[in-house]
Symmetry: C2
Subunit: 453 residues, 2 copies
């Protein structure tokens, strides 16, 4: 028996679900099928919280009804091969499914670092699989000492949750000078590390893991400098790689970082096949170079572009801005676009603006703490190219305001007269609003010294 669909989406993660729902919104008469391997899918960014504040891992499962209420059919199964000539898929069951448009949203898999002994028992990755994560949780129940290899967002959030809610001995081993170093400038990394350390998380930076030693089960983490860390459980969070095998086997072009090559409409080298999310190659909003930024929020944006373009060309992705946020301890950290260090590495001549203010006004109001903003501008054009912030939970939306400023290439001069709304209980005060004050600092720095004469 052969089933045919107008649209087949492979992958049940953020990209797949959003592409399918967008396709149905834009083309309500089309028959849409989503094929995924997992019976139940996880909310990817919620995974660290399955190890802490969420008392039941099932609470991080995606609600299934979103697909059914949108009229999207779901098949649990594995696609073995794509026959592009015939526009057909072969499933591992032998079943064949015809498509008119195909969306590849096959996601990513953990990157494997060059460490000996990764195959020992109690060495885990963060996979988006409920049953696998239950095994990690079971191992943690028996553990005293946990070593997390990699201090990016996932490693830092995981360390925070395991330490805070399980009181285990937690050590992060990071190869770079700071945790979160690819996303933040040093002063923000330092503040995040201080939050982790205040909770009792140990942090070793500029350290490389050589070997995971032990009998059957991992017992020690050996660093290249000779340090030996005892460990009952090791969790490896050293990033992800695009899962592009299916596309590659079908002769679809890949990009320089191994993701499925896409144009700005999210079409692959086959015009009937689109791709979005972690499996798709990413290009920077700043200059168009390939970047390794894989985020659920980027996946959702790409899926909204792919899904809308399936039958009529409707929108384009402007490239990946990269908008991050996290909460470590009591503080929210967020960044959008280029940080100072990376902007300089990319060859920009930059102008900085920095400002800080209490998140309530007057600051005597309860629950007040400081919101700090750092903006990076291109000196030549005055255009914003990046921003970072730390403060209360509202920083999670403040960074989205920064993203809007980035996407519209706002200049320091424009941002210095930005019309924000303010409220005593919700934001810093109008004269001190840090985004605007930081922009004014950069706008004024751009002036010639003798302007006023």
């Amino acid at each position: 028996m052969e089933l045919d669909y107008d649209v087949v989406v492979i992958g049940g993660g953020t990209a797949g679900v959003t592409a399918a729902t967008t396709a149905r919104r834009h083309y309500p008469k089309k028959k849409v099928l989503l094929i995924r391997r997992e019976e139940r899918t996880l909310i990817p960014c919620g995974i660290p919280y399955m190890f802490g504040v969420l008392d039941d891992p099932c609470k991080n499962v995606n609600p299934e009804h979103i697909l059914s209420i949108r009229g999207i059919e779901v098949k649990i199964g594995e696609v073995k091969q794509i026959f592009r000539q015939d526009k057909k898929l072969l499933l591992s069951t032998g079943e064949e499914i015809g498509y008119d448009r195909l969306v590849l949203a096959t996601g990513s898999r953990p990157a494997i670092p060059p460490i000996t002994g990764l195959d020992r028992k109690n060495v885990f990755w963060i996979k988006k699989e409920l049953e696998y994560l239950r095994q990690v949780l079971a191992a943690l129940e028996q553990a005293q000492r946990v070593v997390i290899i990699g201090g990016g967002f996932v490693g830092a959030e995981l360390a925070e949750q395991i330490r805070k809610y399980r009181q285990l001995d937690v050590t992060i081993v990071e190869i770079l000078p700071y945790c979160l170093y690819t996303s933040f400038d040093e002063e923000f990394c330092f503040e995040a590390e201080r939050e982790l350390q205040a909770l009792g998380v140990k942090i070793l930076t500029e350290k490389k893991v050589a070997e995971l030693a032990g009998a059957e089960r991992v017992q020690e983490v050996h660093l290249e400098d000779g340090t030996v860390l005892p460990a009952d459980v090791v969790i490896v969070t050293t990033g992800v790689r695009p899962a592009a095998d299916l596309a590659q086997a079908a002769g679809i072009s890949l990009g320089p970082n191994g993701g499925i090559l896409v144009d700005r409409t999210m079409a692959t080298s086959d015009p009937h096949i689109f791709s979005c999310g972690d499996c798709a190659e990413k290009f920077s909003f700043f200059g168009g170079n390939p970047v390794q930024i894989r985020l659920a929020s980027v996946a959702a944006m790409e899926a909204r572009v792919a899904g809308a373009n399936l039958f009529v060309r409707r929108r384009e992705s402007p490239g990946t801005v990269g908008v991050f946020s996290s909460k470590i301890g009591e503080k929210a950290f967020a960044a959008a676009g280029l940080i100072e260090r990376i902007a300089e590495e990319e060859g920009y001549d930059i102008l900085l603006g920095e400002a800080s203010a209490p998140n309530h006004h007057p600051s005597a109001l309860p629950g007040t703490f400081e919101t700090k903003v750092k903006l990076v501008f291109d000196r030549y054009t005055g255009i914003l190219i990046g921003g970072q912030a730390v403060g209360s939970d509202s920083v999670g939306e403040l960074v989205n305001l920064l993203s809007a400023c980035l996407l519209h290439r706002m200049t320091a001069v424009e941002m210095a007269a930005f019309q924000m709304g303010t409220h005593p209980l919700l934001t810093p005060s109008p004269p001190a609003y840090p985004l605007v004050v930081a922009a004014e600092e950069a706008a004024v720095a751009k002036l010639e010294p003798k302007q006023e004469d």
Copy 2:
């Protein structure tokens, strides 16, 4: 003795302070004087919280050091007259002060509604004067029943604080169909009223006050429909009017709403005199018509334009967007630009987008509640003309993201592929992010029915 300054700013509120600090930033060699009447100035938006959560009214006083560290001189005094020909000011002390550039930031004063008996004892306004507000607080100490005339932001916030922290019997009398009716569409007003009512605040809408009756002290509020409300204290919060007398006496042009007429550089009809804040006439970002929106955040923006333009023409105000936020009970309410009702009154053919999602993902995380967004687009161009939101405190920054979208005249199509950052503890999930989902709803609604064939 005659003192001369390069820049004199009249007014010590948000506009005056921000204009003075901006002038110093842009023209660091210029001598700047700020003249104000009050020994100590209040944070205007913080005033309702002096009646509740702030246990000491002095905690809502502006920090004085901001002016001194910027090298701005301060004089406490009253300007009686402006001699424009001589570029001189006459103070009530008889002192004369010369200026090269003058900034009028004389603010606003409470509007006086046509009610009989406003001169009775225990009838108060919300003035930005510490000693006056101490009298209101003292009267409340003796009171049981408080009637607030006017259910705008100030009235609603005041009612909430007095009820919550003083457990008095509080009634709001509002002439319009809902509280907050000039800033929000009905469904948001309804939700805000429900929060107030849950705290025990009584609300009477579509009711007009005829008279405040009593012996010496106010004892009753008589409504036009015959209802009599007993009252120990009455607070009138029926809006403000620009304080433009000084400018008018000096022959400076006023605008249709009685504010000081300014161009987009914030210059008045006298090119050496600028004006900003509540005393300046406001023009809408949407079409340029005069509007009655007086906010500290608008004052700060205008002051940043005025201060930068004093000696070299550097920036323009694009007009007043109007960005509001407030917290009533447990919910934050915010709006930017035009609401549905006013957009229709202004003659737009509109498209709506509405969406709602939990502010955390998964929603099982603690402290989760719904964030609801409503967007108003111009159907013809697809451009955003307004947005409203209700939810957690982050709505205070979410509305600033809406303001950035408005200022850049983003379309529904652009916003539907907006690159936001998301985080389980800080924002809704990527597929459900309500601003984007609402924009997509409007973007799709714009499509012709037969687009896909």
